[in-house]
């Protein structure tokens, strides 16, 4: 006789409390396949934990966002935000779709060049551009987005030395009605700093002011803020034309569109409450179209959307190490992945699904990572079926920032697999080995030996 499937015995206290109109979602629907590939098979072949990226989802997201913007505005160009996820395979999917590169450091700049992005299609952002970085950007004709006055002055000096006329934009920060206001990057609109920088550029004549750039925040839940930003940027562009007769060729609205993740402390689930891309698009394109540009002088709209295009294309597969009971009776489950590779669990309540069938009984639990560190908490409170050691789970919406911000602490970082359009998995980053980490280490001779 075949034995029955085992499920850990659980008892759950039924609390009568106030009704919660938002409710909580119980994750007992198993996710057994990603793009047609079995989760168990992936873990067996590539080890646990494992990042999995869906090429299909990336392309769908990109094409969807492109269509949404292009049906509202005639001149749109996306530039892939390298810092969101700079695995070369991921970047190249975006480049194949037509996306340029947007970088914020020399390291990222080199990566984009190496991937084959022409220098003229790499937008160079960020406050940390050293002299040598600026020289390389000038040589490659990359649009340089100036962040502060020191950079502006250095750029003029370097351009004079090189007898070059680089293409530049200034980064503008502004009050768009949201809190906190991001004013640490670029030049402020309201207090006249932006105009001051523009006047300096125009008076000097060495730099070619071709664009205006802004990035009003991250995980922005108010599309209207983008409308305000686009209006202010348009006004600036039109005033530049009025004062200097100079037509600004692009307005770069940066990134910051929210993904479907749930921010900690928010009432609703992200999937139900974050704005659709079309809402951001409507706010931005309406503002640009109504700003008063002549048709032939309508600026290009550049977008550096990162998170909203990649987050739901990334999954983290992992396994249960152990279950334990905390002193107050709460169930705790220890996973084989922690905040070291899931940095975003500090600010999101990530959706987590079991990867195998269970009954409909669930229990509340805390999910811990494997690190010997108290802050290694994946979810403070999540309702899951009774997982046992060795069971697998799928964490959703981890495509943005987790790979680029992962920490090498105590454990080696896992492999990353991309599932192609035909459902074929490819390793796009091998798991780390001890040798990977020790590659740059040097032990002086006198420390090479000891006896215990």
């Amino acid at each position: 006789m075949e034995k029955k499937q085992y499920e850990r015995p659980i008892i759950k206290s039924l609390n009568q409390g106030l009704m919660n109109k938002f409710g909580t979602r119980t994750e007992y629907m198993p996710v057994t396949h990603i793009d047609g590939v079995a989760v168990n098979e992936l873990l067996q072949n590539y080890g646990s934990p494992l990042f999995v990226i869906s090429e299909r989802k990336i392309r769908e997201n990109y094409r969807n966002a492109k269509r949404i913007f292009e049906t509202r505005y005639p001149k749109v160009q996306f530039a892939w935000s390298y810092k969101t996820n700079y695995l070369n395979a991921v970047c190249n999917v975006f480049h194949q779709e037509g996306s340029w590169g947007e970088v914020v450091s020399r390291f990222e700049y080199e990566k984009a060049l190496k991937n084959g992005v022409p220098g003229s299609k790499i937008l160079f952002n960020g406050p940390d551009k050293m002299d040598d970085d600026l020289k390389v950007a000038i040589q490659n004709d990359s649009p340089i987005h100036i962040d502060h006055l020191d950079e502006l002055y250095r750029l003029i000096e370097i351009s004079n030395d090189m007898d070059a006329n680089p293409r530049v934009a200034i980064r503008v920060n502004m009050d768009t009605g949201i809190y906190p206001m991001w004013d640490r990057f670029g030049f402020n609109y309201e207090n006249g700093q932006a105009w001051d920088a523009i006047n300096k550029i125009m008076a000097n004549g060495r730099l070619r002011l071709v664009g205006l750039h802004c990035h009003i925040g991250t995980f922005m839940l108010a599309p209207s803020a983008y409308g305000i930003a686009a209006s202010k940027m348009s006004e600036l562009a039109l005033q530049i034309k009025n004062r200097y007769g100079k037509i600004i060729s692009y307005i770069d609205m940066g990134g910051g569109f929210a993904s479907k993740n749930t921010l900690k402390g928010s009432y609703g689930l992200g999937a139900d409450s974050v704005p659709e891309i079309s809402q951001y698009a409507e706010a931005i394109t309406s503002a640009l179209l109504n700003a008063g540009f002549d048709n032939e002088e309508l600026p290009y709209l550049y977008l550096e959307t990162g998170r909203a295009l990649i987050d739901d294309a990334g999954y983290l597969l992992g396994s249960v190490i152990s279950n334990k009971r905390l002193s107050d009776g709460r169930r705790a489950t220890i996973m084989d992945f922690g905040v070291n590779i899931m940095f975003t669990s500090f600010w999101y309540d990530h959706k987590i699904s079991p990867a195998q069938e269970f009954g409909h009984h669930t229990e509340d639990c805390v999910l811990y990572g494997p690190l010997c560190m108290n802050i290694d908490v994946i979810r403070e409170n999540v309702t899951l079926p009774p997982l046992k050691a060795g069971d697998h789970v799928v964490v959703h919406n981890v495509g943005a920032y987790n790979i680029t911000q992962s920490m090498q602490f105590i454990a080696l970082r896992p492999a990353v697999v991309m599932i192609d359009m035909k459902g074929q998995p490819h390793v796009i980053k091998r798991s780390e080995q001890l040798s990977t980490l020790e590659e740059g280490e040097v032990v002086p001779d006198y420390l090479s030996k000891f006896s215990l």
Binding site: K4, E7, R8, P9, I11, G329
Partner: protein, 79 residues
């Protein structure tokens, strides 16, 4: 180890403690265990019965059973 006499247990795995007003739900395997405790089975007998019926090793069942019994004690359902 006995389930308190006044605890009401439904066939669907719903427990009610009339002296405190607390109610609980248990999953099917938890329900089986409660029934075995009611039938005065020892812990070893329960472990043997579960490993005979379910595709699971003895260590896991033992660990889970003690945790479950502890929770029954915490909720004051056994005496």
């Amino acid at each position: 180890m006995k389930i308190r006499k006044n605890i009401a247990i439904s066939d669907s795995g719903f427990l009610f403690n009339p002296s405190t007003g607390d109610s609980f739900s248990i999953n099917p395997i938890g329900h089986e265990i409660v029934q075995m405790i009611q039938n005065e089975k020892s812990e070893i007998e329960i472990i043997d019965a579960l490993t005979a019926d379910y595709a699971i090793d003895k260590n896991t069942v033992e660990k889970d059973l003690y945790d479950f019994i502890n929770m029954l004690k915490t909720h004051k359902l056994i005496e």
